[in-house]
Symmetry: C2
Subunit: 350 residues, 2 copies
């Protein structure tokens, strides 16, 4: 036995020889069995099971031009949101008979083109993109390779492709309304640098729109947080609380976080400063990480339907691969407001 050097899987030729038919017939058994005589089909089937044969997807891809592969490009696999979406997408892909090829940008902007070309080289049938904002050459690379794509969470300006994301505007309005109803009047929205990231921009815009249209009762402010500006954030929240406290009508202050990364940072600051969420300062964050219930009185959150987002993106893409010709869709999925102690003024008052 020389299976020690290299184990070759049986080929279609081997099956054909074993069944005493041509390769074409074996191929038909898989792709057009209806054209086969029962007798012949049985013989082929026997040979297939005997040899434990399975067609090589690679060779199929080369021949057909389709690979049943989907390229998934993600800006930063560290981001729990991305992983959650990835999970839903990968699941739907598997169910649809597709395999996922993953490319992580590691937040390295400008590698998008490279990623697309690399995956296109493997004949992926389409792309799911959860990447950065300034898609320099992204669209060009997509066009050049002639592959459809679905954008998740972040849309590229000037790119006409299917787009799946949280309904950020709707979620923001729900968040703000909830806070206002609970007596919070001094609001601050903390976001990572907006740059070209559409979801961040849209949330900030929705926040500004809300606060300006409720200007008589509510004061709103946007804070751009980045790693370097850590202490500035603490000062800003402190000022916010002070502003609320000094107002004669007992306005309450609340912070809205743009995502889980920011939430973590704010929770950390609050722990240091010994602020009580809900009482000293209200809080509500986009994303609902598993640990949200464990911080203080529990952190209120906008839970994103990450699994559905990933799943929708994948099925959306697969539909296109199956010939769907509809114009680019914009699918916005609703978030779910999860109310916990951090946005409830009754908590911690006692």
């Amino acid at each position: 036995m020389n299976d020690r050097l290299q184990v070759r899987r049986p080929t279609i030729a081997a099956v054909a020889a074993s069944a005493g038919v041509s390769k074409a017939t074996v191929s038909r058994f898989f792709n057009h069995e209806e054209l086969l005589t029962p007798d012949i089909a049985a013989r082929v089937k026997k040979a297939i099971t005997e040899l434990d044969y399975a067609p090589s997807p690679m060779a199929q891809a080369l021949s057909r031009g389709r690979s049943r592969l989907i390229g998934l490009i993600v800006a930063d696999i560290t981001n729990p949101y991305s992983v959650a979406v990835l999970r839903g997408a990968e699941k739907a892909c598997q169910e649809g008979g597709y395999l996922v090829m993953l490319f992580n940008l590691g937040n390295a902007i400008g590698r998008e083109r490279e990623a697309i070309d690399a995956l296109a080289g493997y004949q992926v049938d389409g792309f799911i993109l959860n990447t950065l904002g300034r898609g320099a050459g992204v669209m060009e690379a997509l066009e050049r390779n002639g592959k459809p794509a679905v954008l998740v969470d972040r849309r590229h300006s000037g790119m006409t492709a299917d787009f799946v994301a949280l309904d950020s505007a709707g979620a923001m309005v729900a968040a703000c309304n909830h806070l206002v109803e609970n007596g919070y009047r001094e609001l601050m929205y903390v976001t990572e640098p907006k740059k070209g990231v559409s979801s961040r921009r849209e949330r900030a815009t929705a926040f500004n729109k809300f606060s300006s249209s409720h200007a008589t009762r509510v004061a709103g402010q946007v804070f751009e947080y980045s790693e370097e500006s850590g202490s500035l954030l603490e000062d800003a929240i402190r000022a916010l609380i002070a502003r609320a406290g000094s107002a004669k009508d007992g306005r309450r202050a609340a912070v809205i976080s743009g995502n889980a990364v920011v939430t973590l940072r704010i929770a950390s600051i609050a722990a240091q400063c010994n602020w009580k969420f809900g009482a000293d300062v209200g809080f509500l964050g986009f994303d609902d990480p598993e640990w949200a219930p464990l911080i203080g009185p529990g952190l209120s959150a906008i839970a994103q339907p990450t699994d559905a987002i990933g799943r929708t993106a994948a099925t959306c893409l697969i539909d296109r691969l199956h010939g769907e010709q509809a114009p680019p869709r914009q699918i916005l999925l609703p978030g779910q407001l999860v109310v916990r102690g951090s946005s409830d003024t009754r908590v911690g008052r006692d």
Copy 2:
């Protein structure tokens, strides 16, 4: 129906024609440029850049039998540990010029074979496996496909392959010693069902070994936690605390968690019961999730070098692909003990 505009990438034939040479010459330009006349090489290069040609990795794979693809099979992509490892591995793969094909089992045992075969169909050159315990047919599938594999975190019994993981035994000893030094004497190790998962078994074994060899001073107990037995865990911890409290020498109770999932559950129970970590009950958990510092006085942890584990696994595999013939290696990476308030008796005493 085939009127869909398929954008074809330029082929080697097109380059050859454009440069006025044969396909073989173009192929040599990429693989054996040293054999080429400078004159010809220049012409080929010109044609390549003009046409923006890049070889098709798929066709190369079919022809060579190697694909520069690595199959990564993970038991559960929901698990942050798996994701962290995945991240390190994917990075190292990219740096080595390999792409990752991801297959998530979604904890569906028995799909390992299926996953291996699916990925092998795409000619992946090797596997990184972070899967379940009872690898029924896993080894057989691997052998049948003749591909090397590296095991991460979980080793399969009777499988001779490279293995990369945390030094569980060493970490457990460090954890226990730390707790004992801080006055904790009633110890309980909480793990998910051990079943066939080697890392869980090894940690439990190390714990038992420690407590039996320190039996004069320390009492140790292992608790198997599963979703269904949630309330049992609360009772067990309560009993542990009671045992410690009733002892006249003021022994202190501490819980060790086997991973982040269990840690979350314990933290949740502690919040409900209003236990103060460090004072009422000590705590130390395997894995150091980002939120560990935020719970109570901060949760002590064994931080796993997940990035290094992933990276090591990948390079290990790539070495093999490059012809490395050494016998199966067992690479155990040290964890890092991160001490926070939950294992410090001074905290919360006031």
